[in-house]
C-alpha cells in the first residue's frame, strides 16, 4: 500500500500545506488504490479520476500562489451518494434517480470545498438509505474489506468500506437509525452521528427528516472530529439547523471520574458472545483508567425499533412523494398523469423502498393515524425524557453498536424484520436527537471488527470526542484489512 493511503486526514493536510506532498500525489495514490479495490468491495458508485485530479491541481495551484486552502487541504473525502454534488450523478442507489445530476451542492459539500477537501467520488448505500447492509442498493452490494463474503453494513456501507480499506481517509455518511455507526462498527472504523441540528441537511436527499443527520467516517477519532468540525454549524437553508455554537471537538483528557452509564437493555437477547466479550473488555479498560462505570436502565428503549418503523416510514412516505416523474429522474409510461405517477414509482423504487412507503402510508392513513403515528410520537417523547433523566446521572452511555459482527451477504436479505433488528442498539440516539459515536474495540474469533458505541446528551459532542479519544488510546490500534486477492 502506498504510504500516503495509510496516512490519516490530519497528517495528509499537514503534508499538503507544508508542501511535503502535493494534493495531486495524494489524489493519485488514493485513485490508484480505489480503482484497484473497487471491483472487490464496490464501495464507489461513481469515481471520476479526471474530476478528482482537477480539484487536486487547483489545491496545488493555490498553495503555490501562497494561499492556504484550509484545514482539509488536498484531503480526499468520499461522499455518500445521497448528498448532492453539483453536476455529478446523485442516485441514492435508486433507479428512480439514475439520470439525476443535482444543480446545486449540499451545504456539507460547500463546506468541504471551502475547507480545501478534494471530493472523492460517490459511495454506495442502501436505496434511499433504507437498509443495514447495502443489499438494497439498485447497483449491487458493498462488500466488507475484512471478509468479502460479508456485508459492510448499511446504509452508508460504501463510505465505511472506503475508509476501512484506505481508499479514502475520510468519508461522509448519513444516519437515520444507525446508518453511520452500524457500518463503522462492522468495518472497524470510527463513525459518528451528530446531535440533530448540528449539521445542515440542505442537499441531503431526505429519507426521514426528523431523524436524518450527516456525519463523518474516519480511521481515528481525531480525523472524525476534523471532518465534523468542517461541516458543522448553522445554515439558514435548513430550518432545523441549530444556531447553538459548535461544541469544541478538540478537547483532550483522560476518563478519570467520567460517569459512564451502561444500559442493561443493550445487553439482552440477540447479543453475540464475541461482541459482548469485546465490549466488556473495553469497559474494563475504561474502568481501570478511572472511569466510573455504572449500570443504568432505559426501559422504553426496547420499543425503539417499533417507534422507528412507524416514524421513519411515515416521514419517508411523505418525502418520497416527490418522485413522480415530473421534475427529475425516471418517468414511466401512462395515459393519464396519475397512471404515469404510479408507473414511474412502481418501476423506479426497489422492494424495500416500496415496503417502507406502504408502511408509512398505512401508518398515516385515515383510521390508523392515531393508533400508529400518533402513538409512536408520544412514545418517542417519553423516550426522550427518559434519556434526559438518565443524563442527569451519567456523562455518557456506553454499549455495543451492533448485536453481532458483520453478517454474511444474503443472510438477512429475505427477512426484513431480522434486518430491521440489526439497528436495535442505534435507533434510540436518532429518536432522542442525541450524538453517538462508534469506535472499534476489538475483534471476534473470526477476526471481524466489533464496535463500541458512546452516546452523549444533546450538543454533548465535546465530552463525546474527549472520551472517545481517551478510549481509543486504551483500545487496540486500527488494523488494516488484508490486501485484495489480486
Amino acid at each position: 500500500m502506498s504510504g500516503l493511503c495509510q496516512e490519516g486526514a490530519a497528517a495528509l493536510a499537514a503534508a499538503v500545506r507544508g508542501r511535503e506532498a502535493s494534493a495531486v500525489e495524494v489524489a493519485d495514490a488514493h485513485l490508484e488504490r480505489a480503482l484497484r479495490w473497487n471491483d472487490d468491495v464496490e464501495a464507489f458508485l461513481h469515481l471520476e479520476p479526471e474530476d478528482v485530479r482537477r480539484q487536486a491541481r487547483e489545491i496545488d495551484r493555490r498553495i503555490a500562489a501562497g494561499e492556504d486552502p484550509g484545514p482539509l487541504a488536498g484531503v480526499p473525502v468520499a461522499i455518500k451518494d445521497n448528498l448532492c454534488v453539483r453536476g455529478q450523478p446523485t442516485t441514492c442507489a435508486s433507479r428512480i434517480l439514475e439520470p439525476f445530476h443535482p444543480p446545486y451542492d449540499a451545504h456539507v459539500v460547500e463546506r468541504l470545498r471551502a475547507a480545501g477537501a478534494v471530493l472523492f467520488g460517490k459511495t454506495n448505500l442502501d436505496e434511499f438509505a433504507m437498509g443495514s447492509s447495502t443489499e438494497n442498493s439498485a447497483f449491487g452490494p458493498t462488500r466488507n474489506p475484512f471478509d468479502l463474503a460479508r456485508t459492510a453494513g448499511g446504509s452508508s456501507g460504501g463510505s465505511a468500506a472506503a475508509v476501512a480499506a484506505g481508499l479514502a481517509p475520510l468519508a461522509l455518511g448519513s444516519d437515520t437509525g444507525g446508518s453511520i455507526r452500524q457500518p463503522a462498527a462492522l468495518c472497524g472504523v470510527v463513525g459518528m452521528k451528530p446531535t440533530y441540528g448540528l449539521v445542515s441537511r440542505y442537499g441531503l436527499i431526505a429519507f426521514a427528516s426528523s431523524l436524518d443527520q450527516i456525519g463523518p467516517f474516519a480511521r481515528t477519532v481525531d480525523d472524525a472530529a476534523l471532518l465534523l468540525g468542517a461541516i458543522a454549524g448553522h445554515d439558514p437553508r435548513d430550518a432545523t439547523s441549530s444556531a447553538e455554537p459548535v461544541p469544541d471537538l478538540r478537547q483532550r483528557g483522560d476518563v478519570k471520574g467520567l460517569r459512564i452509564g451502561v444500559p442493561r437493555e443493550c445487553f439482552g437477547e440477540g447479543l453475540s458472545g464475541d461482541v459482548r466479550a469485546a465490549v466488556d473488555a473495553a469497559l474494563r479498560r475504561l474502568k481501570d483508567a478511572g472511569a466510573r462505570i455504572e449500570e443504568v436502565s432505559l426501559p422504553l428503549s426496547v420499543h425503539g425499533i417499533a417507534v422507528y418503523y412507524i416514524v421513519a416510514p411515515s416521514e419517508a412516505s411523505s418525502n418520497l412523494a416527490r418522485y413522480d416523474g415530473v421534475r427529475y429522474g425516471l418517468r414511466g409510461e401512462g395515459r393519464s398523469v396519475e397512471e404515469m405517477f404510479s408507473e414511474t414509482r412502481g418501476e423506479g423504487f426497489g422492494a424495500e423502498v416500496k415496503r417502507r412507503i406502504l408502511l408509512g402510508t398505512f401508518a398515516l392513513s385515515s383510521g390508523y393515524y392515531e393508533a400508529y403515528y400518533g402513538r409512536a410520537q408520544k412514545v418517542r417523547a417519553a423516550m426522550r425524557h427518559e434519556m434526559e433523566d438518565c443524563f442527569r446521572k451519567v456523562d455518557l452511555l456506553a454499549s455495543p453498536t451492533t448485536p453481532t459482527a458483520a453478517f454474511a451477504l444474503g443472510e438477512k436479505a429475505s427477512d426484513p424484520l431480522a434486518m430491521y433488528l440489526s439497528d436495535v442498539l442505534t435507533v434510540t440516539a436518532n429518536l432522542c436527537g442525541v450524538p453517538a459515536l462508534s469506535l472499534s474495540c476489538g475483534r471476534t474469533a473470526e477476526g471481524l471488527p466489533v464496535g463500541l458505541q458512546l452516546t452523549a446528551r444533546r450538543f454533548g459532542e465535546a465530552t463525546l470526542f474527549r472520551a472517545a479519544r481517551a478510549a481509543e488510546a486504551l483500545l487496540p490500534a486500527y488494523a488494516w484489512p488484508p490486501e485484495p486477492p489480486r
Binding site: 439520470p99 445530476h101 444543480p103 446545486y104 440533530y196 441540528g197 426528523s210 439558514p236 430550518a239 432545523t240 420499543h303 425499533i305 417499533a306 417507534v307 418503523y309 412507524i310 412516505s317 412523494a321 415530473v326 421534475r327 427529475y328 429522474g329 425516471l330 418517468r331 414511466g332 401512462g334 393519464s336 398523469v337 396519475e338 397512471e339 404515469m340 404510479s342 408507473e343 414509482r345 412502481g346 418501476e347 423504487f349 416500496k354 415496503r355 412507503i357 406502504l358 408502511l359 402510508t361 398505512f362 392513513s365 393508533a371 400508529y372 400518533g374 402513538r375 409512536a376 410520537q377 408520544k378 412514545v379 418517542r380 417523547a381 417519553a382 426522550r384 426484513p416 424484520l417 430491521y420
Partner: protein
Amino acid sequence: MAIDPAEVLRIARLARLTVHPDEARRLAKDLDRIVGHIDSLRSVKLPEGAEALTYFGRDVHRPDEPGPCLPREDALRNAPMQDGDFFLVPKIVDKEES
C-alpha cells in the same frame, strides 16, 4: 391489524405506486409481520395527555423575503420532459370533463 393483499393494493393506490398482484401477496406477508412487531407499542403505558415529539428545537420562521433561487434552465435540466419554459406531463383534464 392483519394486512392482506387487498389492503396492500388499497394503500398502494393512496401512495400512487403500481404494485402487481404477486408483489402484493409478498408485501402483505412482510407488512403483516412488521405491523405485528410495531403493535407492541400498544402495551406501553403513557400518562393521560402525553405530549408528542414532532421535531427538535424551536419554532423557526424566516422573514418572507425573496432570496436567490435556481435559474429556470437549471431547474428544468433534469426533467424527463420539458419545453424550455415548463415541465411537461400527460394530459390532466379530459376534454369531456372540461
